[in-house]
Symmetry: D3
Subunit: 323 residues, 6 copies
Amino acid sequence: MGHTAPYRLRPESVQRVIEAALTLVRELVHLKGETVKRLEKDAEKVPALLGLPLGHNSSFQQGPAFAPALIRESMWCHSTNSFTEKGIDLNDIRNLVDVGNLPIQELRDCGVDDKQLFDAISSAVKIIYQQKPLYPIVMGGDHSVTWPVVRGVVEAAGQPVDILHFDAHPDMYDCFEGNRYSHASGFARIMEDGLARNLLQVGIRSITGEGRAQAKKFGVRQFEMHSYEDHREYLENLTLGEGCAGVYVSIDVDCLDPAYAPGISHHEPGGMSFRDVMNVLHNLKGNIIGADVVEYNPQRDRDSMTAMVAAKFVRELAAKMAK
Amino acid sequence: MGHTAPYRLRPESVQRVIEAALTLVRELVHLKGETVKRLEKDAEKVPALLGLPLGHNSSFQQGPAFAPALIRESMWCHSTNSFTEKGIDLNDIRNLVDVGNLPIQELRDCGVDDKQLFDAISSAVKIIYQQKPLYPIVMGGDHSVTWPVVRGVVEAAGQPVDILHFDAHPDMYDCFEGNRYSHASGFARIMEDGLARNLLQVGIRSITGEGRAQAKKFGVRQFEMHSYEDHREYLENLTLGEGCAGVYVSIDVDCLDPAYAPGISHHEPGGMSFRDVMNVLHNLKGNIIGADVVEYNPQRDRDSMTAMVAAKFVRELAAKMAK
Amino acid sequence: MGHTAPYRLRPESVQRVIEAALTLVRELVHLKGETVKRLEKDAEKVPALLGLPLGHNSSFQQGPAFAPALIRESMWCHSTNSFTEKGIDLNDIRNLVDVGNLPIQELRDCGVDDKQLFDAISSAVKIIYQQKPLYPIVMGGDHSVTWPVVRGVVEAAGQPVDILHFDAHPDMYDCFEGNRYSHASGFARIMEDGLARNLLQVGIRSITGEGRAQAKKFGVRQFEMHSYEDHREYLENLTLGEGCAGVYVSIDVDCLDPAYAPGISHHEPGGMSFRDVMNVLHNLKGNIIGADVVEYNPQRDRDSMTAMVAAKFVRELAAKMAK
Amino acid sequence: MGHTAPYRLRPESVQRVIEAALTLVRELVHLKGETVKRLEKDAEKVPALLGLPLGHNSSFQQGPAFAPALIRESMWCHSTNSFTEKGIDLNDIRNLVDVGNLPIQELRDCGVDDKQLFDAISSAVKIIYQQKPLYPIVMGGDHSVTWPVVRGVVEAAGQPVDILHFDAHPDMYDCFEGNRYSHASGFARIMEDGLARNLLQVGIRSITGEGRAQAKKFGVRQFEMHSYEDHREYLENLTLGEGCAGVYVSIDVDCLDPAYAPGISHHEPGGMSFRDVMNVLHNLKGNIIGADVVEYNPQRDRDSMTAMVAAKFVRELAAKMAK
Amino acid sequence: MGHTAPYRLRPESVQRVIEAALTLVRELVHLKGETVKRLEKDAEKVPALLGLPLGHNSSFQQGPAFAPALIRESMWCHSTNSFTEKGIDLNDIRNLVDVGNLPIQELRDCGVDDKQLFDAISSAVKIIYQQKPLYPIVMGGDHSVTWPVVRGVVEAAGQPVDILHFDAHPDMYDCFEGNRYSHASGFARIMEDGLARNLLQVGIRSITGEGRAQAKKFGVRQFEMHSYEDHREYLENLTLGEGCAGVYVSIDVDCLDPAYAPGISHHEPGGMSFRDVMNVLHNLKGNIIGADVVEYNPQRDRDSMTAMVAAKFVRELAAKMAK
Amino acid sequence: MGHTAPYRLRPESVQRVIEAALTLVRELVHLKGETVKRLEKDAEKVPALLGLPLGHNSSFQQGPAFAPALIRESMWCHSTNSFTEKGIDLNDIRNLVDVGNLPIQELRDCGVDDKQLFDAISSAVKIIYQQKPLYPIVMGGDHSVTWPVVRGVVEAAGQPVDILHFDAHPDMYDCFEGNRYSHASGFARIMEDGLARNLLQVGIRSITGEGRAQAKKFGVRQFEMHSYEDHREYLENLTLGEGCAGVYVSIDVDCLDPAYAPGISHHEPGGMSFRDVMNVLHNLKGNIIGADVVEYNPQRDRDSMTAMVAAKFVRELAAKMAK
């Protein structure tokens, strides 16, 4: 997506652009956080929606960079209303605020490398976390964003999280096609950095030998689709996050069967139904302190069908987080 | 596109968000402008690409808000190269820089009204104009952005411009469906404000009685498609912008027949071919000091076919502007 | 869809058009009903297919007005045959006759208002009902048609019905966007008019506070998708319609997950599978005396995939009704 | 499209259905014609739009049966306005009235054969013609409808017409795939019946040996695309219809290159541009007393792009006819 | 698909083309078989992939002729990897080799009739079977290929097989539209020829009276979708192929609900989920000695979604066969 | 497209596969050539259609590998007939024979490298050329096939050809992305090898500095779109091929504007119309002894619209060649 300037830009000026980008986030977070405090004094936890339009770490298609704008449109479009399945009204400021996007394309066009970019992402997440009572709910972007988002959450919280991760793939390559920042490697980084106490992966059905070896090495629990029925009852009655910072939920839209979500980069048949994910999520017991919905790819979508799916994931996650 | 917070936000905090948004533009403009001066001392005029992801003033579809990201992708995509038709290399910093987007959605979600938003757009344009040797080339967004962009250019230049306007419609309703900021009213505002010395409209083929009356009132020259062949030679040999600030070119992608550009909101058969527009543009004599390409609607596009068209308009405009 | 003449037409001449429209239905009903009696003396209940190409009461998209012609095409297309899942041959006149469409567009173009239009619909339904052994099976059209259709059935039968209603939404707004005839309000009208003894809503997953309040007020039983598995056994063994006029079945195609039926106006993820609906329908015990299949929207369909779904709903309903 | 009842229906009852269908047309024609006379006493010629949703005589695809509803929607859709290119307002009753559809599917489902059906079409056209000041403008349907429509016009007028026929194909097979009523044979019938004094075919680029032989036999003038430039000036300055009943214009949408009109059954590259057709039509001198726009096929259209094209043909024809 | 030369070709020269076609298969089989023996001496059973691009025996659409090339592309495309769900690496020569396509179009263009063509298919299959340790896994093509493929397997093995057949339709018409080689008749031929000891049909939901009668006549066990849940446990624990040549698996992609596989010719709602098929296949006990995946139709696919499904069927079948 | 076996195959066995592939072509050429001689003794030049399903040398998308099967389908599909624009009947054996495809995928899966593959292509072309009166007309595949095809023609003819090349791009990179066999380098190879006496490139509108330098170096005449009108008369009256072996015509479908041919890999706006190409081709004077139509990409096509375009290019080329 887009272009990186081929000529060299002065690092100190680039740093000023990064600062300006974070200032934009900071002001929006401040504005929304102060408003919550003014209007709803006793709100304990309000999800703050942050968009990360980043697609360049995808191995196959960069479309996820276009996702946040389209998910937002579907969240508020006229074909649905502001209530979630369990009756939470997202037009109520206690249940959701929006803090805009981190301007990823602008940073990349300045020659910012992935290390700098991921640091900026972690910073943005911490800015949210520190503005009580806001908690981050992130719209990707490709799945590479989860590592810096979780890092921001864990650094702000001061301790690791339990991660509930829905995906067709484990995303634990040590290094994918030479890229350690790849969307296929994020959970290897998370485990190496000790950011997760437990990692549960649900929906897995495309996994190499390396993927299984990494799971073993890091103690990851993988729930594969070929035996989903054996684990359904367990998964629909999870308790997570006790005795650590809380729960982080990461939903890669491709956990779903492509029938339910054609607008993704990697069509892997045999996935979960939308209701399967809902059943796990609605019944989860635990304090969710951060979440993301990633890998929606508008360039493969049809009539925004998958945008509606990603939007409903965001909506139901928000309803589950809000307190 | 998206949501406007239904609760009241403090005006002074909103103002801080507007400032942060302009700061982001300012830093990018500064970074790119300084780099041009450092690397290419004798560049006289370098087009600076600014995205305005704004769609809410469309009467029919809001898709143009998603355009800038997709036009950028098409500009640099692997299916083409960095050279324009007349041999200008856009990877050369003398010929194009990118200064990112003004974060429209973030501003609107803070309850900024159209007056404030259009002022911010004019400010962003002036920030570019005042950083020599940069000149603005804008990607909409719907056609409502042209008014504040032209205003910014004219205020920075200190005198009116000649406008060459490609469009299926005159966009001169006094007020469209109650909205004076509508994408169908922009040129009425421009003429009322005295921003244009001459306004030439090319490609017109959907015009009401009011449209013709306004043209008469404001002295606008309309070249309608039903008699295009009678005017072809004249249009392919235009001289504009002498004795005023220069030329501003506004290309509404729907000037083209929908066969060439399906990705627009208003399919009006009988339009120009892509080559027709190129012939007018390539042969235009005059100093272009600002330009826009608007109304590309990704939600009606197919395989980014129209994104390539919009991108080529931007590319050829940049080549024409660069000096 | 289409145009309403902006000038005033004489009411008495308009009335003649309404009469002509009903005459067309009457002649078709007579022709088919007499043929049944001539060929199959002992047929007790023969479903008569009536199309209602009405879309203007949709809140979001008017495509359902185009549905009847496309559902008919799919019912008889070469990619399938004339047998239903349980072995009923729909080419046998005992199992289905077609009585054409009520010409909705023609009526609306004459300035007929919704009150008059709905009266004409009720009349058409009664014309069918009174021609023994025909019973109405209606193809919408948007969901606003259900109210006048049920009214026609109940008036002809002389007592209320039990309604089995498949839908993502309860459609019980008192008034939606100022329109009491809206497709989102039909079941409020039905309950207010006392047309239903019992109303069961299956597939619900998009419901506001008002939707729940209305259900409570009218004693409606809602089976929401978030707890579908808890009610599956009950729903797959229903007995309805005893001690009243019989059962009316209303299938809004959006009861299905959009994966199964993309050709609808309101994509609401997490819905029923096609087989879920079949399981409820095939096992239903009760005398179905009227039915509808509504909200198929050809403008969002792909390769007539959803037309096949709507057609199969009509086919299986007919097989269930025929006796 | 749809189904023909496989059992035998009584001819006298079928005749009653045909009568009811024509009564519906008659009442609409009467209503609209009387209104014109009441409101605009001096209107001399008002085009009356009649839809013929007939597709079964297509050799390849039956989609044209679905065309009239979609063309109507595009004529009045929000993406355009009610004015034609030369400034005629179609919302003015002097310029266009709508008399609805002849209910073709209902007739065919009663076992009406093509002879009866074509007689009903001719009757409907005559009903219009005899209600002064209405003149028929027909929306197909496939091209087989032109024969009975022209027959109706000629019978009502009492003398032959000059026909200006835009098409990729001559449609003059003596018999196509055994069907003398085929959409590929209509102009053979017209010429045999002596309905046309002159027949000019414009846009031809798919023609067999038989097609050329028939043209020679009937004295038809064919303007083939491979030499269009040689004839452009002549075609853009036509005078027709003097000394006979007047001019009939038949536009098969496939006269256009498929780039301009993908929504047709027969993609034949190398066709006219939309503007080419407009140039011929706008400059035509002659009294148009009947017209049709046929072969639009919604099932191959994309985002109603070709519906807009067919609608603009209808609109510009109406503007040209109205007096 | 394509053209059959309308003039007569000399039979002896045609025979030379058939021979050349089989020689091509023979050389590829030899090359791959020898390589397996050289590199992996103890491989017992290696699936050899043969493409049969044949579509002309379809009743409705001929697209399956284009399937093999697209399934191959999806099998190795970058959006997935070479491992199957249970951890088999298909890049290992023990698990899969490719022996190319039989050049069907070339044979048909020489005027080869279906008898000759089916004999050539059987010969190609036997060529594979006789090159130990290769066993055929076929990509259709339409379902008519199964008969000659099974015949080849049974002739090579010297005894009948048990057939596990996934399909929406029984494909047992005695003769479909006059064609005894039709894709809707293949299993009638198989049963008449005594090629199958047992035939189990899973996924059935479109069946005529004849289909049920044929099943009874031939002793076929049909598992219909309307009662799938009653048979799920049985089907997910099958043992087949003992005491005969082994098991043959035939997967018609339309066994799936169209939601999972839109790229098929016959959309029949209410089908199996992809996981349902996997559950039956993964748990099947028995020695699979031949298999096919048929009726994928690229012309109705979207973004290769169904190609991925067909490819995964091939992949998982190969993993199940390899030993 | 597809997979290359990752293990090593014995070169001598691979050679046998290459031989078998050429044998298949040889037998088909022999069969068709003998039939022509038998039936039409005085045919001087009969175009023989050879498919080259090769896509791996594309820089962007490999879809052209799927083209030949789909172009063949469009050539003979029911929506058109067998006559060309100037009245040549392609069902007459004097005007066209089909000799099938060279099995590219099978060769590549055996590890054949591009040198071997291109040699096989040249051999296949020479096999055609040497079977009088057949002359090759090739369907690509990507544009890399033109080099070996022209080489085959020139080697068989014993002297160079004049090449008329329609394309958006010059395809003369010395080496594109490290690949000297690239589809973007073919004409550099042709010129280096001295295969063309004259090379005229028509339709050029995407060209880098290197492209212009190579044209200068090799004396290539480029007709760029930005000045097409200046050269139209010259191009529509070409005489070529005198005093050398004759004319070779290479049509890259992307010479057309994407409006006319969306099914290509590189959308470059501002191209030729279909009629522009026809006008050059129909009026060309010269003896065409070989031709190709390349770069049709079915994966970006819609409803086979571009397949029809490619097919019509093949059809009109054949008509022009046949004698």
